[in-house]
Amino acid sequence: MRLGDDSALEALYVRYGGIVFTLALRIVGDPELAREVLQDTFLRSWEGRETYDPGRGRVPWWLMGIARNRAIDMLRSRTHHARLREQEQLQSSTYVDEPRDLEVGLRHVVTQALEGLSAAHREAIELAYYGGLTQAEIARHLAQPLGTVKSRTREAMERLRTLLQPIIDESIKPSGQDRG
């Protein structure tokens, strides 16, 4: 990838294209926009491959960071209320479930960990991460004090950290083949 090899980009796409598209679709809620995010993400990773820093996380997390930022940029170009409406629609919709072999064990644990959160904690995480809302915007939307929203977000993240850290560490350990 760092050498600019086409086949490396293809391998990256084959492995992570699905999860990047899934994340983009979850955030922007429109397949065409999600496709745009998907393309931008891989092109940016291609352009910025020399700046990838393994110390800041594995390749898929780096890719998803790029995808999430791009998708949120798209969301932010719409009005705040339109974004909330879209998020409400997305929460009640379902996607086609096509199991893939991407880190199945980790996925299972992540799902369980999120299901283990209270509705309020999960809502705080989802509005922040997928909704692209700031803490102040979430507080206004939920009619809650800003301090309450921040504490709730931290509690939820602490809980997830406790549950997920062991398996994240484990997934990094074996070969490090995702790095670079």
């Binding site: 679709l25 998907l38 940016r44 960071g65 096509e98 602490e158």
Partner: protein
């Protein structure tokens, strides 16, 4: 001296859910606080795996072809720009001394510029993050305004951006500064909303549009808090056209 640990803000920061001023505060703090930096790394790892909870949706079947073609075009553009330029004979003879002189001049200019940046740098003293940014390929855009106000935007090729501002007056609570990318044929897009400290300085993360090709100007305006969808105020700082 490390100020109060922004414990509640670290999680929100990792989720990309903080407004400009709070984001800047966290970024400043973690440069000097190893404990919070470690917590932030852990939160980022958690955020990195959150999408695994989503039921996978396969991308459109032709998406890969479009990406491959676009990557090929990018590579071709890169190769074209690297093609050797044929120099006239007199310049071929003089090119090495000329290049050496240019290099020395560039070095002197760079040292002078670095000193000036350090002297005028807004926000925290340049630390590892600024150094890291300066090493990343990308570009720096300088915004100028009246009354000694100025700003610099560091844009990395992977889309990350930071804005450093100095010389702006503090605004009342109901107002905020907002950075805009003015685009030809598309609505302006907001890069950040932020306040400045008592010295008139700010250091904030910027959302940079995926494509900067149609950005013809970058401006900072004074807007009602927490920021709007379009600029309504007069540009206080602006950059020359993008290219």
């Amino acid at each position: 001296m490390v100020d109060d640990h922004p414990i509640d803000d670290l999680a929100a920061y990792a989720l990309g859910s903080l407004g400009g001023t709070e984001r800047g505060r966290v970024e400043t703090h973690i440069l000097a606080c190893a404990s919070c930096a470690a917590d932030l790394r852990a939160y980022r790892e958690v955020v990195g795996v959150l999408p695994l909870d989503l039921a996978p949706v396969p991308p459109p079947s032709d998406a890969w072809n479009a990406i491959r073609e676009a990557a090929a075009k990018q590579r071709a553009r890169g190769q074209q720009s690297r093609k050797a330029i044929v120099l006239p004979a007199w310049l071929r003879v003089a090119r090495w001394p000329a290049m050496a002189a240019a290099l020395v001049a560039l070095l002197i200019w760079n040292v002078t510029l670095q000193r000036e940046l350090v002297r005028r740098a807004p926000g925290p003293a340049p630390g590892p993050e600024v150094e890291a940014l300066s090493r990343r390929p990308g570009r720096i855009v300088i915004l100028a305004g009246s009354g000694g106000a100025s700003a610099r935007i560091f844009v990395a090729v992977d889309g990350g951006g930071h804005l450093a501002v100095s010389g702006l007056p503090r605004l009342p609570h109901e107002r905020t500064y907002q950075l805009w990318f003015m685009r030809t044929g598309s609505p302006p897009v907001s890069g950040a909303a932020f306040g400045v400290d008592r010295h008139g300085r700010a250091w904030v993360k910027v959302s940079v549009p995926a494509s900067l090709d149609n950005v013809h100007a970058i401006v900072i305006t004074d807007e009602p808090a927490p920021g709007g969808a379009r600029p309504t105020g007069k540009p206080l700082l602006d950059a020359l056209p993008w290219r």
